[in-house]
């Protein structure tokens, strides 16, 4: 018996012999994950969750009047300067030379955005006066959730859109900031949001790439700070948050590795042809 159909054979058309499915391969492209690597990578998700938590807690304090805008502004400014210096020091100036972005350009964009926000802060403050509080809370929660979903954690998926995630975070911050008592509060809140959602992830990405151990340490510290802040607001929330963080950093990697054993992809000569060549030489 030959595995052809264009010759008349004494066997029926759907006959198979003992060499059936010999060429079946299973899980050829399955990746072998290592627990520590996965935990390390899950730090990105933990970071973002903590950012959101810190932001919300800060807003809470400002709303309750326990944190003064000047204090927050000062603290944010100091940490920003520190981060700025660290950003260049980590890779010895190589990234800056590569991207060609001068310090003067950085200063300009900072001034522009600060002036803009300061100028619009009275408008921002009265923006949601007539909207009910529940709507504001719901909208902000939705937007922050969207921020977490669309954030670029390093995966190469189609749903990732760093622009959209940043915009959603800013939108949420504006919504929340408009609930604060005075326009200075609104200005400081929006600036703080900008720093924590736009500048902090940039620094973290660089740290992760260059100094993994430092990165782990920073993540752990940040998580503890977030937990601590949340605990002063609501203990139940802190417990829930802690469990969420533990689940994401420890439980999910374990589940991922365990479920890999159940993977059952079959490959064979019936697969679609893949073009392995690099087509860029034709373009």
């Amino acid at each position: 018996w030959q595995k052809v159909l264009y010759e008349r054979q004494p066997f029926p058309d759907n006959y198979v012999d003992q060499r059936f499915l010999e060429e079946l391969r299973k899980n050829v492209h399955a990746r072998r994950y290592r627990y520590r690597a996965v935990v390390f990578q899950s730090g990105a998700v933990v970071q973002q969750l903590c950012s959101v938590c810190v932001f919300v807690v800060t807003w809470w304090y400002m709303d309750a009047g326990m944190l003064s805008p000047q204090g927050l502004f000062g603290a944010a400014l100091v940490t920003s300067l520190l981060g700025y210096v660290l950003f260049d020091a980590v890779d010895g100036g190589a990234g800056r030379r590569e991207s060609g972005r001068t310090r003067w350009a950085d200063l300009k964009s900072t001034l522009v955005f600060a002036a803009f926000t300061y100028g619009f802060s009275p408008v921002l403050k009265t923006l949601t006066e007539s909207v009910s509080t529940d709507t504001i809370y719901a909208m902000s929660a939705l937007m922050l959730l969207g921020h977490l979903i669309f954030f670029d954690y390093g995966a190469n998926a189609a749903i990732v859109s760093s622009t959209l995630s940043l915009n959603m975070a800013i939108f949420a911050s504006v919504c929340l900031a408009s609930r604060l008592p005075r326009s200075l509060h609104a200005f400081v809140m929006v600036t703080f949001a900008m720093q924590i959602f736009a500048l902090w992830p940039m620094l973290q990405k660089k740290l992760k790439a260059r100094t993994p151990r430092c990165y782990v340490g920073v993540t752990v510290l940040f998580a503890l700070a977030a937990l601590g802040g949340l605990a002063t607001v609501s203990s139940v929330g802190a417990v829930l948050f802690a469990s969420l963080l533990l689940a994401i950093s420890c439980l999910c990697p374990y589940c991922l590795i365990r479920l890999q054993l159940l993977k059952d992809n079959i490959h064979g000569p019936w697969d679609e042809a893949e073009i392995k060549e690099d087509l860029s030489r034709f373009l």
């Binding site: 955005f113 926000t117 923006l127 949601t128 007539s130 859109s161 760093s162 915009n167």
Partner: protein
Amino acid sequence: MVLKVFFPSCCSSAESGILIGRWISEQNSAVILAVVHFPFIPVQVKQYLSEVQRVTKVSVSVLGSWSNSKQEKEESLSEFLEDLGTIFSHEPWIQISKEGDSKFWSCSTLQKHSNNPKEEEIILVYYDQRKVMLSHLHPPLATATSTDHKADDASKLSAVFDTVAKSKILFMTDRYDDGPIKLTHWQSDGVEASIIVELMKQASVPACMLLTFLLSLISGICRSRVLKFWPLSFLWSKLSTCEQLGHRLQHLQVISSNKKAQNQTQLMRKANIFVSLLIDVALGILLMSWLYRKNRIGHLADTLIPVADHVAEELQDLLQWLMGAPAGLKMNRALDQVLGRFFLYHIHLWISYIHLMSPFIEMILWYVGLSACLGLTVALCILSDIIALLTFHIYCFYVYGARLYCLKIYGLSSLWRLFRGKKWNVLRQRVDSCSYDLDQLFIGTLLFTILLFLLPTTALYYLVFTLLRLLVVIVQGLIHLLVDLIDSLPLYSIILRLCRSYRLAAGVKFRVLEQQDGKPLRLLMQINPLSYGSVIQTYRLPTYSCYPKDSWTSLCKKLFLGELIYPWKHKGEKQD
């Protein structure tokens, strides 16, 4: 084929003679125009006929013989008549004879050179020569889609009508003329004319010349450079009164031109324009006399200022309502106050302006009312313009609101694309992804939030002012519709259809008269007048009509996007 003989009913009681008319060989029909009586000299008859043929371009010839004898048929007369056939050679030679007072005539044809000697069937069709001569046959309007059969019928009829209409000169000689030929036709008892018509025809020539001179003077002034400077020309184009006056001037020019009307359509159009102008001016003078009696102008002027004040007060109340919480909607207080105060200030300006003008209103109205003598349409146009001027502030508010809203919508749509990380590609006319800088993103999102939350406020103001503006536009549109109606109605044609319905013929109908065996079939041809609908459709005067520029969907789309709408488009305006 059947031979059809069209016989004028006025010649039924004529003396014996020969029949002259036109032979239409394609349809095998003979249209008899008149009867030439004995005695006559054949050469003179032939000369006369060739002259008639030269003038009218209708091939008139001798078709046959007609004998009307009080006694029984005389053999010798019939032989004489047959001999005539040899003198005036015509194929076929028709012989009609009437005995005594009998209704049934005998008709026979003589074919000398025919192949088949069998007897041809003859149909006698009586027609009223006067009516057919004066009427105008309107071809069926759907000639493109009708079958060939119908088109054939129409052309057959039109051939008959044409023949009678073009042979006008034949009917000019009546029996009191001393000529070599004695004819009987519809005007043989005396040419129809009326003194009034003749007088008017004589008087119209110098009147036309005078009118033409005056009109050229007026149009020369209107076209002068002084009036063409930018602010004035813009003003003239916006006032509908000027358009209407220009339209009427054009009409007057058409009427007073020295060229005679070439064909029926032009004649009817001139007549329609003339009657329409006359009725318009008459109605206008009526209106004027009513207005100027009992000092109604004064009353009107007195009520105008309070009405304007009332409108302004209503607007102020409306704005106060908007500045609060209108219909329970939540507005942004700061923006609300800003917009509301801005518009209130405008209304305040407007009221002061009206009060400034109030002493002059009565005089202005008095002089403006005089122009109603130019026609009712002009008066209506002036009314429409006065409404436009009085509601100018509504128009201003609408423009402000629309511009603000349009800007907002435009900004929102662009920033929404930025929010998602996309950009509008102008080159490819589609939305593409784009990587923005950090500060662009930030400022863009901030602006997006601001615009989004301020949208309800602006949208409400825009909605309110758009509704007001639409109301004013609808009122003006109704007035213009009325003006259009008066302008384009063909009154003369309608009156003609009412009084002399045979003048406008849509077709003919045949009535079968009493028959006798052995005698030819007799039919009476009666004119079928046009229906009123087709009269109006055919003779409608062209106007500079205003019709809606946009369809409903595009209008809604424009309203939604905040583009300014000018719903009526005039015919002369350029397309944008």
